[in-house]
């Protein structure tokens, strides 16, 4: 396909040419000369003092090159893992931020906490040696549950963090909310749990550290969504490696979903060990290891209330949430349940006042951080469950109550009471189209048909909004971010007119190589095949904040658009010179520079060639070369949204919930590549359904062992769990991004859990069930049905 491929078309993905042949290069595929293998010994206890670690037997094993402990790293002045976003509690005090050593010393605080790192010639040797390390643990009582951790007399993780409370945070006007509740005709309330999830991108985490003595430079190959940020955090704060002496490469990465957007201890340990040993050191997580070393997601306990007037109009909302931080603060841990949560509590509704209080709590569990959606699915779940509850209690149809309270299209821009201002949207339009596609009108017939077979059928709804395109740096800074959230792009035009783009976002499944090439092809009129997108290498790409929060197209694409504009301007200057016209008279259209009103013109390729042969350039006003760079910092978040319907059937004999239909209508702004957007929505929806029906990170409350520690016990969604999804865009244009894009990566995960639970509750309506916690697994649902049918036996 040697042609211009524009915005709105669906060329086949460039990256697939290697992936379908098995020619991708993932970190685990990389071999470096002289490379050694590293294995972590991890704590088998949730909470214990480390009295002593004897590594002598391990060191004596064949092939073993080194065994490192936390004390070794401490002695080498290795720093703790930093937090990228600090929050301030309701009293104005900073959050408690205890040190997070890459390898534990003094104490271990969760099952999986690293205790030692063994390096050997082969992985088998390292594993065998790790078994020979003798650790004297003094086991302490552990606490894994949020409510338990805040109880008086709960085991304390840190001496200087009273009550395990990291921060007691708030947002909104509590007195206005109190007043509104006093005057309410009805108050709906709910208590709910947002279940702990384990992201499990299919490629396990991996890292290779390398040190070159001659240049004094380190290289880290890592499965990361944001290599430049890893360079910044690890180089500056953990290992003290100057930025110009550290290269971080994230090559092909097999899915991220947030799990790979943190700086991990393992990255620092392999890099440090490579420096100590002067040889490359590789670590690849086993899947069951990843279950206790990858950051987890969600894990909230929430009480929420909604005040309504007699017509079912929302007056105010009050939300109190406990959020699990795990045992240490992960890179963005405290930001997720606060800044990415509470500002979304207005949903797509007009709610005059909102107050939210969040207690961030330490427990003896794996650190919790962003997972696809990150804070926004949790907010949507609270809002939508509350709205369902209110509708049910007031006897209002649950679709109708939403329509009554939605922000009308003409009310945008809409300032919520919780910081954010939505620039654009049409929630009612999404809902009406979704209602039609889902054949809501025909539902009662289907319900009756299910009932005739002894099955319960339910229809569920969820609307949602998200704030994405992270993030306007000024606002983020005010909210505690410790770095900017812009993105950068360089457009390098070669003398042939072919283009290399260097961009700071990271492609790990989202199709950036294709979408970004479309933007350039469209803007510069360059054939799609002549454009390469380069990412993931701090030595090649100038800078970047990486990929997360549905930001790549919104922020990175905007930088690319701006850099393309600069290329066009420079090209016009060259064309003005070549065509002996004034700059103002040069127009650029369809890949051609021409003098307005004449037939004098030069192709983009001719101008590119001329840029590098500046024999007669007026050098004082025109530099040779055609390469431009742009940094884009968004002025606002973007606000994708939508309306989803789910239809489930429940077998009362087994409690199994079968998803029969799923319909999603989403507003993602301008669509560059419809095929890729559909794929993102499919994947997101299925991950969200995974949370609602299947996935659950479960800890034993006493021992603190992770009970769902492999794919044998953590239920991953599979192909046979799903029907065909029906999706359709209903877009409004973002008013402040260059192309009107909003982002699409997290929509599905945000919208679907509430829709599924709404459907499950609707199915169980004959039994009087008002709420069901996630996941709606067979045993859980069967218990609910049994208890409802025999209320005497209910607890």
């Amino acid at each position: 396909m040697n042609a211009v491929v524009g915005i709105g078309s669906s060329p086949k993905r460039k990256e697939d040419a290697r992936f379908v042949r098995g020619k991708g290069t993932y970190v685990a595929d990389i071999k470096r000369p002289g490379m050694l293998a590293g294995v972590f010994l991890r704590s088998e206890h949730a909470h214990a003092k480390l009295n002593s670690i004897d590594v002598s037997k391990a060191l004596a094993q064949p092939g073993v090159k080194a065994v490192y402990t936390g004390e070794d790293m401490k002695a080498d002045n290795v720093g703790g893992l930093p937090v990228g976003w600090g929050i301030t509690d309701k009293h104005g005090d900073p959050m408690k931020e205890p040190p997070h050593p890459p390898i534990a010393h003094d104490k271990v605080r969760y099952v999986g906490d690293a205790v030692a790192f063994v390096v050997a010639d082969t992985i088998e040797q390292a594993q065998a040696a790790a078994e020979m390390i003798e650790v004297d643990y003094e086991v302490l009582p552990a606490v894994v549950g949020l409510v338990d951790a805040l109880r008086p007399n709960a085991p304390q993780l840190y001496d200087d963090v009273p009550n395990n409370l990291c921060a007691d945070w708030e947002l909104g006007n509590s007195s206005a909310v109190d007043a509104a509740f006093e005057n309410a005709a009805h108050v709906a309330s709910i208590e709910l749990v947002n279940n702990r999830l384990i992201g499990n991108p299919l490629e396990p985490l991996a890292a290779i550290g390398e040190f070159e003595f001659a240049s004094g430079r380190y290289t880290l190959w890592t499965t990361s969504q944001f290599p430049h940020v890893v360079r910044l955090l690890m180089g500056e704060m953990v290992l003290g490696i100057p930025q110009h002496k550290l290269r971080v490469v994230a090559p092909d990465v097999g899915g991220g979903f947030g799990v790979k957007q943190f700086h991990y201890a393992e990255e620092a340990v392999v890099t440090w060990a490579a420096g100590k040993l002067g040889r490359p050191v590789k670590w690849v997580a086993q899947r069951s290891e990843g279950f206790v070393s990858d950051a987890h997601g969600r894990d909230h306990v929430t009480e929420a209330e909604l005040a309504l007037d007699e017509d079912g109009k929302f007056l105010a909302m009050r939300v109190k949430t406990l959020a699990n931080m795990g045992a240490y603060l992960s890179t963005f841990g405290p930001n997720i349940p606060t800044n990415l949560y509470a500002p979304l509590l207005s949903g797509v509704y007009q709610i005059p006042s909102i107050y939210c209080e969040v207690k961030c709590v330490f427990t003896n569990t794996v650190p919790v951080d962003a997972y696809r959606g990150a804070g926004r699915p949790e907010a949507t779940f609270v809002v939508e469950r509350l709205v369902d509850m209110a509708a049910r209690e007031m006897g209002i149809d649950k679709i109708d109550i939403r329509k009554r309270n939605m922000i009308p299209k003409e009310a945008y821009p809409y300032q919520t009471p919780v910081i954010v201002e939505y620039d654009s949207g049409d929630p009612l339009g999404c809902l009406e189209r979704s209602e039609e596609l889902a054949d809501v009108a025909g539902f009662e017939v289907r319900r009756a048909e299910s009932a005739s077979r002894g099955k319960y059928r339910g229809l569920g709804i969820s609307t949602y909004i998200e704030a994405c395109g992270l993030a306007p740096s000024r606002l983020a800074g005010q909210l505690g971010a410790r770095g900017g959230l812009y993105e950068s792009a360089t457009v390098r035009v070669h003398p042939s007119g072919a283009v290399t783009v260097l961009i700071g976002t990271h492609n790990h499944g989202q199709g950036h190589e294709t979408t970004f090439a479309q933007i350039v092809s469209d803007r510069l009129g360059v054939p799609f095949e002549d454009i390469d997108i380069v990412f993931g290498d701090t030595d090649r790409v100038q800078f970047g904040m990486g990929t997360y929060g549905s930001r790549s197209l919104v922020v990175g694409g905007a930088a690319l658009s701006q850099a393309s504009d600069k290329v066009i301007l420079k090209g016009r200057k060259i064309a003005a010179h070549q065509l002996e016209a004034s700059l103002e008279d040069i127009v650029f259209e369809d890949g051609t520079f021409s003098v307005a009103g004449t037939d004098r013109k030069k192709s983009f390729q001719e101008i590119a060639g001329a840029a590098y042969v500046p024999f007669d350039f007026p050098l004082e006003t025109l530099e040779p070369g055609l390469e431009e760079q742009s940094y884009y910092d968004p002025v606002n978040f973007t606000y994708p949204g939508g309306a989803h319907f789910a239809e489930v059937e429940i077998d009362p004999d087994t409690g199994i919930v079968t998803l029969e239909r799923y319909t999603a209508v989403d507003d993602v702004g301008t669509i560059i590549n419809p095929m890729i957007v559909e794929g993102q929505l499919h994947g997101g929806i299925v991950q969200g359904i995974g949370q609602a029906l299947f996935e659950h990170g479960v800890y034993d409350p006493t021992s603190g062992q992770l009970l769902s520690g492999s794919f044998m016990d953590y239920c991953m969604p599979r192909a046979d769990n799903f029907p065909q999804l029906v999706i359709e865009p209903h877009s409004t244009t973002c008013t402040h991004t260059p192309m009107g894009v909003k982002g699409c990566g997290e929509c599905g995960t945000i919208g679907s859990p509430a829709a599924i639970i709404s459907a499950v509750v609707d199915a169980l309506k004959p039994l009087g069930i008002a709420h069901v916690d996630m996941p709606a697994s067979p045993n859980h649902i069967w218990n609910i049905i049994r208890n409802a049918r025999t209320p005497v036996a209910a607890e």
Partner: protein, 157 residues
């Protein structure tokens, strides 16, 4: 110990430790890294290859068990870099992959399905994929790809 087998139609003779898994032999010793390892409980299917024509999980098979047999990996699906197997084309055409990590296993599994069932319907495809986990696509376009790939394989045979 020494073993010999056919790998993507080429004869191979290698020395392996008996404890070497087929996936490790292929990836580490023979440097064909298209076969991926995504779990340690034989569930994700990223490591699926064909042994004597049947799809198997190469992470749960000893390399020595391939002695004397025929092994095909994703790299052996097309004869040259210019060619693609109809199933590879179908995955690309139908956006049946995102991050690419599960893709080699999905392709090998899908081709084995079509060998056993040349015209599978959606339910049969979804059921067959029980041993292949994808975290990106929500499976919808994988199913679509396999329907298209099966049609192309029928047309080609």
């Amino acid at each position: 110990m020494q073993i010999s087998f056919s790998l993507n139609d080429e004869p191979v003779t290698v020395d392996v430790d008996p404890s070497t898994l087929l996936s490790d032999l292929i990836r580490e010793q023979l440097s064909l890294t298209g076969t991926h390892v995504g779990c340690d409980t034989s569930q994700c299917g990223a490591c699926v290859v064909h042994v004597n024509g049947d799809s198997v999980k190469s992470c749960t098979m000893l390399a020595v068990s391939a002695d004397g047999g025929e092994v095909r990996t994703v790299e052996g699906l097309s004869k040259s870099d210019a060619d693609l197997h109809p199933m590879q084309i179908a995955f690309r055409e139908n956006h049946g992959l995102q991050c690419g990590f599960c893709t080699p296993g999905m392709l090998m599994s899908a081709i084995d399905l079509v060998k056993n069932n040349p015209d599978p319907n959606e339910a049969e495809i979804r059921e067959w994929l029980e041993g292949n986990i994808c975290r990106c696509t929500g499976y919808q376009n994988i199913v679509k790809s396999i329907i298209a790939g099966a049609a192309a394989m029928r047309a080609a045979s």
